[in-house]
């Protein structure tokens, strides 16, 4: 365990705690949305669905950003070998964040009265655009917040000549975060032009900026956790970011298929966004390499579990599920249905949410000066959150497939009378998996908030190493994982991804258009559960294999392990 060397690293703690609180409320709002989907009259007129959904989306953005800020503040001094610049600005940033969250909570409800606060053509209070619902006042405060973050990061970093790839990734990341935000600061009269610029913010944030920050932070956390070689990680970070931009820049075209922009986008979008999984495969492979570059035990299993979850769900949610609906011929069906919600939940929470949680599990014990902590709650919460989210993805995907058939193929557009009743079972599955997820969130938030403050359980405080001693017998699930095996798991995920893609493609078949749902339902029925179960078992296998080497290092049940597969 490293010790806190730079006192300003401790400023990240408050951002981690705010992240957890916002995450907790966002999950609660998600459960409420699930209930309102089952009974849309619930709270109608008091707290309409659109208000709850807006907060669900906005808190998701706020807590992911809090996690980014916290992690950047925590690693900033380590990357720069000096204290953070302008700590007072960081404190100001913290209160500005709280204020803007509270302000946005208060102003969004005005949508029920149709009050946007128009002034000089701009909506000051709320603007009713998906993901960018915040009004102009909040927008400007957020812009100032981003500028502060840029200033702190760039002033803290060493001179440009001494930057490595992680510095470049984070430095460009925070600058681009600010730059891209500005495209959402104008009211646009044309719907097509407005959607064009709205995706600048949403797509380029997620696939251009957040992913760059994500890759850089995952890279540096791997350096911290595994003492991975910073050169090797830097190589991965450079090519990861390059591939993200090479595919994602033109990949944005997949949002321009049906918004009133010309047909040629369908060619460019289908081609380049099909390449978007490449950087994710690359990252996936690197986390395997870095985790296996030595056989040392992992002292902080929850932190690593969430980091692995982040990279794997990025692969599955963003990479594979994104791929299935990225072609004009599949997107024409999935667009505007629950199929996309499946992708969005797995990709956004998985990739960015789990990274923040991983960083919190890594940094919070260090800042509270805890050498060893009871990791059972952390591990359990990981599995609850992970399976809950996979289940949610499953429910949305199957519900979405039914929705595509009933709504698009049959052309029935009565949501209350025809579409929602057909989706009813999956609409009930959402809160069921949601409760599993929420249980994990409650446990995780409680664990991290009270870590080091609550009395340790006297009877059985498992030290990290002793804890894994419970696995007295080594099964095949806990053998050393070879590169071949990891590749086979990845291949299996993509095979199911291929089945899902063909399922969406089959909506174009004449038999389906004539009203037979057999093909798409069968393919979705095999593809989605297959993909999500492979994902679940792969993570189980990976973590088991890593736990087992803690035992190996203790000399418990040492079996001949093959040498680590080709380190980078």
């Amino acid at each position: 365990m490293i010790r806190i060397e730079y006192q300003t690293q401790r400023l990240s703690l408050r951002f981690f705690l705010v992240m957890l609180v916002l995450f907790f409320f966002q999950t609660g709002l998600g459960l409420m949305l699930a209930a309102q989907h089952i009974d849309p009259t619930l709270l109608a007129g008091t707290l309409n669905f659109n208000i709850v959904r807006t907060q669900h989306l906005n808190l998701a953005i706020f807590w992911v950003l809090s996690g980014f800020i916290a992690t950047i503040l925590f690693v900033g001094p380590l990357l720069s070998k000096r204290e953070l610049a302008a700590p007072w600005l960081i404190k100001f940033l913290f209160y500005a964040l709280l204020a803007v969250v509270a302000w946005n909570l208060a102003t969004q409800i005005l949508a029920q009265q149709g009050i946007a606060g128009w002034w000089m053509g701009q909506p000051l209070l709320q603007e009713g655009l998906e993901y960018l619902e915040a009004g102009r006042i909040a927008d400007v405060v957020i812009l100032i917040g981003f500028a502060i973050l840029c200033y702190v990061v760039l002033r803290t970093f060493p001179p440009l000549s001494r930057w490595n790839e992680i510095h470049w990734g984070l430095g460009l990341g925070v600058l681009a975060l600010t730059a891209v935000w500005m495209f959402g600061l104008f009211f646009v009269e044309r719907l097509d032009l407005q959607e064009y610029f709205r995706w600048y913010v949403v797509h380029y944030w997620v696939e251009g900026v957040w992913e760059v920050i994500h890759i850089s932070l995952v890279g540096f956390l791997l350096v911290l956790m595994f003492k991975a070689d910073i050169k090797a990680v830097g190589y991965a970070v450079f090519w990861g970011i390059s591939l993200v931009w090479l595919s994602g820049l033109l990949g944005n075209a997949h949002h321009y298929f049906w918004i009133g922009t010309p047909e040629f986008w369908q060619f460019w979008g289908s081609l380049f966004s099909a390449l978007e999984p490449l950087p994710l495969i690359f990252c996936f492979w690197h986390i395997y390499l870095d985790a296996h570059q030595d056989a040392k035990p992992i002292p902080n299993m929850p932190a690593f579990a969430f980091l692995l979850g982040s990279v794997v769900l990025e692969q599955v949610g963003a990479g594979i599920l994104g791929f299935t609906m990225t072609f004009a011929l599949t997107n024409v069906w999935s667009h505007g249905t629950w199929v996309t919600a499946s992708h969005a939940h797995l990709a956004l929470f998985g990739t960015f949410g789990m990274l923040g949680l991983a960083a919190a599990y890594y940094a919070v014990p260090l800042m509270r000066g805890i050498e060893r902590f009871d990791q059972r709650a952390g591990r359990l919460s990981f599995w609850l959150v992970f399976t809950g989210m996979l289940g949610l993805g499953f429910a949305f995907a199957i519900g979405g497939t039914i929705q595509v058939f009933v709504y698009r193929t049959l052309g029935l557009d009565w949501f209350g009378g025809d579409v929602a009743p057909a989706m009813q079972v999956t609409k009930i599955l959402v809160p069921i998996f949601g409760i599993v997820f929420a249980a994990g969130v409650c446990l995780l938030v409680f664990d991290l908030l009270t870590l080091g403050h609550r009395r340790p359980v006297v009877s059985n405080v498992p030290e990290p190493i002793a804890a894994s001693g419970e696995f007295a017998t080594r099964t095949r699930w806990s053998n050393w994982m070879t590169g071949w095996e990891a590749g086979l798991w990845l291949l299996a995920m993509w095979v199911f991804g291929g089945i899902i893609t063909l399922g969406l493609l089959s909506f174009n078949l004449e038999t389906v258009r004539q009203g037979s749902a057999v093909f798409p339902y069968m393919m979705a029925g095999v593809g989605y559960p297959g993909l999500l179960l492979v994902t679940l078992f792969f993570v189980w296998r990976f973590l088991n294999s890593l736990e087992a080497r803690s035992q190996a290092s203790l000399g418990l049940a040492v079996a001949a392990s093959p040498a680590p597969a080709g380190a980078s």
């Binding site: 619902e133 667009h335 009933v406």
Partner: protein
Amino acid sequence: MSCKPGELCHEGVLRRRALAILGLMAIIFLALSAASFVDSRGQVVPTTITYAGHDAVAGKRVFQAYNCMGCHTIVGNGAYLGPDLTKLYDKAGPAWIEAFLPSAGNWPTSAAVKLQLQNKAVAAEAGVDTIEAYLEKYPAAAERISRRGGHATLMPNLPFSRDEVGELVAFLKYTSRMNTEGWPPVPKVDGLAFPQAKPIPLAAQPASVTAASLSTGAAQPASGAALGEALAKDNGCTACHAPTREKLVGPGWGGLYGSTVTLADGSSVVADDAYLTEKILKPDAKVVAGYEAGVMPSFAEMLDAGQIAAIVAYIRSLEGRKP
């Protein structure tokens, strides 16, 4: 993979090439973007669209102010609680949307749509002036009326003003004119023939008072109040007026008769037969405090004196039940 010390290394060259390709891609992207919004493409722009004197840009502001995207999708983007609105104007037509929006909690009846067609501006926009021709021209309106008319919807009533309704219709007129490259796909089958289209149980169907049954008197309800109740339902009155004191869109009818009503100009008036009859014929003649003029349409062309008397009798019969 990465360069080891002392190895011959092409990493720097590779990296520079990657950045050069990235620059090329940025140029392609910007060129495609510029080509997307040139005038010669012929994509419709909202500044050229008006509907009955309302402006589509103003409609877009209303659309955003109520956060419609938080429940519906537009060009497929937004939330999935309600249907996509992009082509609604083309399918259901302006009169149906005009009838729907002010009392979104209830599906419009045929009479409610017919009432909107009395408005010359709406009829001109619709291109037809009889309900029969309208339902033929806008089959989605016919389907909505026959399957849902008179029932409660799952959408809450929103406090749209008269102008906001017109502006929203203008915005939906604009979106339905947009070329969205064939999205959403046009179904090749009639979905209503499939089991997924749930038939409405007969018991739940609204009691229909047809003109024929009134004139022959064969199915005429016994008392005036009962006839008035059926007429109120059929003409869509109940979409806005509850039989209790509850305010849906307009004032609840429970206990209204004989009560003293405060008007917007500060004066007050007793809600008697003459007042209620006037409200039905000329709703904006006396505006009640707390309500906006122009939301309620006039029923002068829809109802004759006897029918209005029956509806007033029905209102008279309603005690002030608590909601």
